[in-house]
């Protein structure tokens, strides 16, 4: 099959992706140091870094959401079950047989159904949950001022930790899945340069979310 190069990721998209990646990795590292699993920065430094990174992430996240909304790119995250099963089958079996990916991608449809579902869950639920619990945790000493006596630090910390495990799991799978492109590095290159080499093929109509 013929190959073609398409421009998938705009400059800001790549910027926020890598910034967020770095921040999340550092948050995981410092967070697990605070939890007692890692010893590197020392507890105090880890807490200071974690707080700083958390706030930075929240600010970045506002820009990401703003970008998603204003560019209409949020439509790329609208979930669909169409071909979802095929994608799962592909990663379970087809990929070992060298079969082509069942859902070709284009500028207007850059995520396959499985990605849509994952990224929507991540962006709409998991990351928000992590940021919300983190922010409340950060504001622990101000709870009495706001009258938030119903909050329980232990419960909050355990939710924050559970989400952290989920995010770490996502990071592992995500980084691995990034090697499953046309070549091992093509997805990484795409996320850095914006350009990805893809099989020439038609994008189905249902994939493209038309603008109103």
């Amino acid at each position: 099959m013929n190959m073609k190069k398409i421009y998938l990721f705009t400059r800001f998209e790549r910027f926020w992706h890598w910034c967020q990646a770095a921040i999340i990795l550092m948050l995981l590292f410092t967070g697990f140091e605070i939890h007692g699993n890692v010893h590197f920065f020392g507890f105090k430094k880890a807490v200071e870094l974690h707080n700083l990174l958390g706030q930075t992430w929240a600010i970045l996240f506002v820009f990401i959401i703003f970008w998603l909304l204003t560019t209409g790119e949020w439509r790329q995250y609208i979930p669909t079950s169409k071909k979802l099963f095929e994608v799962v089958l592909y990663y379970s079996f087809g990929i070992f047989k060298g079969l082509p990916h069942p859902v070709p991608k284009s500028k207007t449809a850059k995520h396959n159904p499985l990605q849509r579902l994952t990224y929507l869950g991540l962006t709409a639920i998991l990351l928000n949950l992590q940021m919300a619990t983190g922010l409340l945790y950060f504001l622990y000493n101000d709870w009495p001022i706001w009258g938030w006596t119903f909050l329980d630090l232990r419960l909050l910390a355990l939710i924050h930790l559970t989400s952290a495990f989920a995010i770490l799991t996502f990071v592992i799978v995500h980084v691995y899945m990034a090697t499953t492109g046309h070549s091992v590095t093509s997805y990484f290159v795409a996320m850095i340069t914006g350009w990805e080499e893809v099989d020439e093929g038609e994008v189905a109509d249902w994939e493209i979310q038309s603008r109103p």
Partner: protein
């Protein structure tokens, strides 16, 4: 070219801003700035009297009472003031029944109690002649002004003379010679109390250097900044009364169950408040505004972090087992600090140096036990213990020395007992005749207490709040010493602490999921490699 200009401009701007940035960074913590203002006038001389020039003091006194009479001619309220204080009564003023206190029936797990052994104990009484129950507490001339105010360092009360110095050169236990004071020089030297005055008793509580407190011993006469950042002679050089501020001879500090202060006001809120709390001078948010430590001050005492260990120079007694006393034949071993591990009069000891404190919630109040209180000998008896609760806004996590012991008690009446320890041979005193039954019977009778005739030894604990020996700011307790599993606060439960607490199931589950995903992607990756190699061979 334009690009270069841009960078030059940026560089210039950074240089221009640098001094402001550097100044901001050098700014000291608000708590230090506040405290520095408090002490900035310490060097000023406030004294308006030179006692050497008082005609009345230029005479050859022959007895301490004569000196006191001279003192009271000018300081005509001093004796009455002293008579109202615990330094005189040895009774807790908050307990109207009069049984709390060394002068009452309070017991500890050191030398237990005073009643019936007075002449030995009252060598640390600010008076003369308290040798038995008949001491006249209303006598103004029995007040010992000198022990707290003299500055020659030569005035010594003899250990067994009920508060009197010697009138002839006298040996104590064949080791130390006590000389009669030169009363004229002593009287002329008086000034406000220095560390040597307070320390002559409070550093030797329990009958020896550093025995009792753990944060008060002879190393505090001339501490350096590392040992005590406030009292260090190379630093602020505080006297005790710099913090233990005094009104009408009442000295600020905790008295049994009464906290040193009922409030945590700084001098900004009340400029005449006692300076007994750290907050008095440092405020309640003493650290730089960005410091997480400021968020701890509602739950953690300053002492908990700023006193990483007690007995940092001299050892302190950690355990005292009275049950083994009486073996006059035993060879006395010394520990690595050179401290005796046994004394036939007292039993076995354990000494500790650089001890890590025990932490408890503390609202400033400490429970006590008297020889009248019923105890439960089936468990360790907490003769004294801090009061506090994690949910009490007045309570903080506070460091303590816990002194453990095996201490005599009445097996039938289930009370601690007061043995007569000190007295001449054949008086029945334990330290002379080594007969517990006799000594307890005598002591109990003297104190008007019943004794069943059956005694035993019970495990006891006694606490001292650790509040002196504050280390310099960079020598405090590291965060992780508490924020980890099995750390300093492992014994305090019922609240979540980052780094210390977790749910094992969640940790195991979380790491399992992470591990499984990692293994899965590795297997998947290997599968891809092998299958692609296989396809290429085809």
């Amino acid at each position: 070219m334009q690009h270069m200009f841009h960078w030059i401009l940026c560089g210039a701007l950074a240089l221009w801003l640098y001094p402001a940035w550097a100044l901001a960074a050098a700014d000291e913590a608000p708590g230090r700035a506040l405290a520095r203002q408090t002490v900035k006038n310490d060097d000023l001389e406030w004294i308006t009297t030179d006692h050497t020039r008082h005609r009345l003091l230029q005479q050859d006194f022959t007895s301490p009472e004569e000196v006191i009479r001279a003192c009271l001619t000018c300081h005509n309220q001093a004796a009455q003031q002293i008579h109202q204080t615990i330094h005189w009564t040895w009774k807790d003023p908050a307990d109207p029944s009069g049984i709390t206190g060394k002068g009452g029936l309070s017991v500890n797990n050191f030398c237990i109690a005073m009643g019936s052994s007075e002449p030995r104990c009252t060598s640390c009484h600010a008076g003369f002649g308290w040798k038995d129950k008949n001491f006249d507490f209303s006598n103004p001339e029995a007040v010992d002004c000198l022990v707290c105010h003299e500055q020659t360092g030569t005035y010594k009360k003899f250990p067994t003379k009920a508060g009197y110095p010697v009138s002839e050169p006298t040996m104590f236990e064949g080791k130390t010679e006590y000389l009669p004071p030169d009363y004229k020089a002593v009287a002329q030297s008086v000034a406000r109390p220095k560390r040597t005055n307070c320390g002559s008793c409070h550093f030797y509580g329990g009958g020896g250097d550093g025995v009792k407190h753990g944060d008060l011993d002879s190393s505090m006469f001339m501490p350096n900044k590392d040992l005590d950042v406030h009292m260090g002679v190379d630093g602020q050089n505080f006297t005790c009364s710099r913090c233990h501020t005094t009104r009408a001879h009442n000295i600020a500090g905790r008295i049994y169950a009464t906290p040193a202060s009922e409030h945590r006001k700084s001098l900004l809120e009340d400029d005449l408040t006692a300076k007994i709390m750290c907050e008095s001078c440092h405020g309640s948010q003493p650290h730089k505004t960005t410091q997480k430590a400021n968020d701890h001050t509602d739950k953690v005492s300053c002492q908990a972090c700023h006193i990483p260990a007690f007995a940092r120079v001299n050892p302190t007694k950690m355990h005292w087992d009275w049950s083994t006393a009486g073996d006059t034949q035993r060879e006395i071993q010394k520990d690595q600090h050179g401290k005796p591990l046994y004394d036939p009069k007292k039993g076995d000891f354990t000494w500790g140096k650089l001890e890590t404190p025990h932490y408890e919630w503390f609202n400033g109040s400490i429970t006590g036990t008297t020889a009248k209180d019923v105890i439960d000998p089936s468990t360790t008896v907490r003769i004294s213990w801090p009061i506090g609760d994690k949910d009490d806004p007045q309570s903080r996590i506070f460091p303590f020395k816990v002194h453990t012991g095996k201490t005599p008690y009445d097996k039938v009446n289930k009370t601690m007992v007061i043995p007569k320890l000190f007295g001449p041979p054949q008086s029945g005193a334990y330290w002379s005749d080594f007969d517990w039954d006799k000594a307890i019977a005598l002591g109990q009778a003297y104190n008007g207490l019943p004794y069943s005739g059956e005694y035993g030894f019970v495990d006891t604990e006694y606490v001292f709040p650790i509040t002196h020996m504050v280390a310099p700011k960079n020598r405090g307790v590291y965060c992780v010493e508490c924020h980890r599993k099995g750390g300093r606060l492992a014994n305090l439960t019922g609240f979540y602490m980052p780094g210390r607490d977790s749910v094992q199931m969640l940790d195991m589950g979380g790491w399992t999921v992470v591990g499984v995903s990692l293994v899965s992607v590795i297997i998947h990756g290997l599968g891809r490699i092998f299958s692609s190699v296989a396809r290429k061979k085809e």
